[in-house]
């Protein structure tokens, strides 16, 4: 654990005796500091999640983050967050800049705002993306993986760029929107494994756009969101890579471009005791210039990824919450059960889809602490980490139990 992580961990433990989740005292006017830490325990009977092994508990899932924000006056805001995350082979606790940007409010008229941000900005995508690593802001320990896919999280999470944002507040309705241009950060073993299997080559982000709008009606009882983006990257295989070698045989470099044209439609109804949420995402994956020969063209074909989840949360007692969710993902809409993929590659069809029933409990003993427990019954393994699970060994039907304790200030 490096120094930042250690420092944050110590301050978290020291601060844990206080129960109020509020900014630290004694900071200069306009400055706030916040942080969060979580530790999970995972038990999976088949596929490995968060460092778990079949028959033993995995304790490798941990999150640690801290942020500072400074509002020197009513128009400017400067904020940055560092994040460290552990999750099996895919995340080893490296400290990353989660976001770091300057925000300038340009117009503030009665009920209307317009502003701009520049720096590394969180990508608003669906209801949960911008704060997905903060346990308290999630509906469950694992967010619905069909849409909040942890294997491509670093790519989707935040990116250096600029954005224009705005808001309108009416008596019954409000609207928030943001349009960003950025260069996705794609140097990530997990993303490589997900996109082109385990190879040592590198992805490079290319200029991309993302737009997000969120409407709230009746004071937020109804919420509807739409995010749409076109995220582009280029894969450059290493000479010894599979793509590099077969490319060489076919007279090409094996390099190619991938563009993800993606959109998510989000709906939520919030009552006093109940919240019902549905999100549906379609991602058109366009592959260009790989020119792989023969039967391998299946790795070079466009496909449409389809994801949907339905979730119900029930605040059945003060400080308690339960949820039930069905979450489904297919990596190729025209090959829903992965049979065509399995026939062409000899790999398990389960690698191409996942249907996850999940249910769990949350208890907030104080506003700073949260305890979670949830069970999953999964058919398929489209979202399990390929770095933790060899694709040939992927189990089709599997279950897991997760426990998590989280603290924040």
């Amino acid at each position: 654990m490096n120094q930042f992580a250690r420092l944050l961990f110590v301050s978290a433990v020291l601060g844990a005796s206080g129960v109020r989740a509020e900014p630290l005292d004694g900071l200069p006017e306009g400055v706030q500091a916040h942080g969060f830490v979580s530790q999970s325990v995972v038990s999976s009977n088949q596929n490995r999640i968060g460092g778990s092994k079949s028959g033993s508990l995995g304790t490798d899932m941990r999150e640690l983050g801290g942020n500072l924000s400074w509002r020197p006056n009513a128009d400017w805001l400067v904020s940055a967050q560092l994040l460290s995350r552990w999750a099996g082979a895919s995340d080893n606790g490296n400290v990353r800049v989660d976001y770091a940007f300057v925000d300038r409010l340009l117009v503030n008229a009665e009920g209307a705002r317009l502003g701009a941000r520049i720096g590394k900005i969180k990508n608003p995508f669906g209801f949960y993306n911008t704060t997905r690593d903060v346990a308290h802001t999630r509906s469950s320990i694992l967010l619905p993986q069909s849409i909040y896919h942890d294997q491509v999280r670093n790519f989707f999470l935040a990116a250096p760029g600029a954005s224009l944002y705005g808001g309108l507040d009416g008596t019954e309705n409000s609207l928030e929107w943001e349009v960003s241009v950025m260069q996705p950060e794609v140097r990530d073993g997990n993303l490589t494994a997900f996109m082109v299997d385990q190879q040592t080559g590198r992805f490079k982000g290319r200029p991309s756009v993302l737009a997000h709008a969120l409407w709230e009606g009746d004071g937020g009882r109804m919420r509807a969101g739409l995010s749409a983006g076109s995220l582009a990257m280029r894969f450059q295989p290493a000479p010894q890579d599979f793509f590099g070698l077969v490319g060489l045989m076919g007279g090409t470099t094996g390099a190619g471009d991938i563009t993800l044209n993606t959109g998510v439609f989000s709906l939520q109804y919030n009552a006093e005791d109940w919240s019902h949420t549905a999100e549906y995402a379609v991602t058109r994956q366009l592959r260009k210039n790989f020119n792989l020969p023969g039967p391998l063209t299946i790795l070079d074909m466009d496909s449409t990824v389809e994801a949907l989840y339905l979730q119900t949360e029930w605040r059945f007692a003060s400080r308690w919450k339960a949820f039930l969710r069905y979450d489904t993902l297919v990596l190729d809409k025209s090959d829903r059960n992965g049979q065509r993929f399995a026939a062409a590659t000899g790999l398990p069809a389960a690698q191409r889809y996942a249907r996850d029933w999940a249910s769990g409990l949350r208890y907030d003993p104080t506003s700073a602490w949260s305890l979670f427990a949830e069970v999953h019954h999964v058919n398929g393994g489209a979202w399990v980490s390929k770095l933790d699970n060899l694709p040939v060994n992927l189990a089709t039907t599997w279950d897991m139990l997760l426990l998590q304790a989280a603290w924040r200030f």
């Binding site: 706030q32 916040h34 942020n67 509002r71 128009d75 805001l77 009665e110 009920g111 507040d169």
Partner: protein, 137 residues
């Protein structure tokens, strides 16, 4: 008949006390009234300026405090968990800041009275001359 009235009276007494809530502001604030949508945007930390461009400083009581529920339901017409979710989204994505949490109504009055641009809330009966009352309509 009398026993019926008495039963009703006892039932009425045993109902949880509902506090009528009043929004208050620091004396420096020019506004005498704000719309529900503006109040909601301010307490949600989305609206960060008063009409004259000066910063809004929001003071709140803990999530489970009866007065906080009162503010959310009676004045803003939302649920406390929605405000909490809204603050969390801003704070952990860097796009906003959290309100200042105070422990008691007395502390609320003292902090709002002492902080330029401050907004907070108290019980309606608790008239206090050190702060300004704001009508939310």
């Amino acid at each position: 008949m009398r026993w019926l009235l008495r039963t009703f009276f006892l039932l009425f007494l045993s109902l949880p006390v509902v506090h009528a809530v009043e929004v208050i502001a620091n004396g420096s604030v020019a506004e005498r009234q704000v719309t529900v949508s503006t109040a909601r945007a301010m307490f949600a930390m989305r609206q960060t300026q008063w009409a004259d461009g000066s910063p809004v400083r929001v003071f709140i009581l803990p999530d489970h405090h009866p007065l906080h529920s009162g503010l959310c339901k009676e004045v803003l017409s939302i649920y406390p968990y929605q405000l909490r979710q809204s603050w969390d989204r801003l704070v952990y994505s860097g796009t906003g800041q959290a309100p200042v949490e105070v422990a008691t109504e007395e502390e609320m009055i003292a902090r709002v009275a002492a902080t330029p641009g401050a907004i907070g809330y108290i019980r309606k009966v608790n008239n206090n001359e050190s702060v300004r009352t704001i009508t939310v309509r």
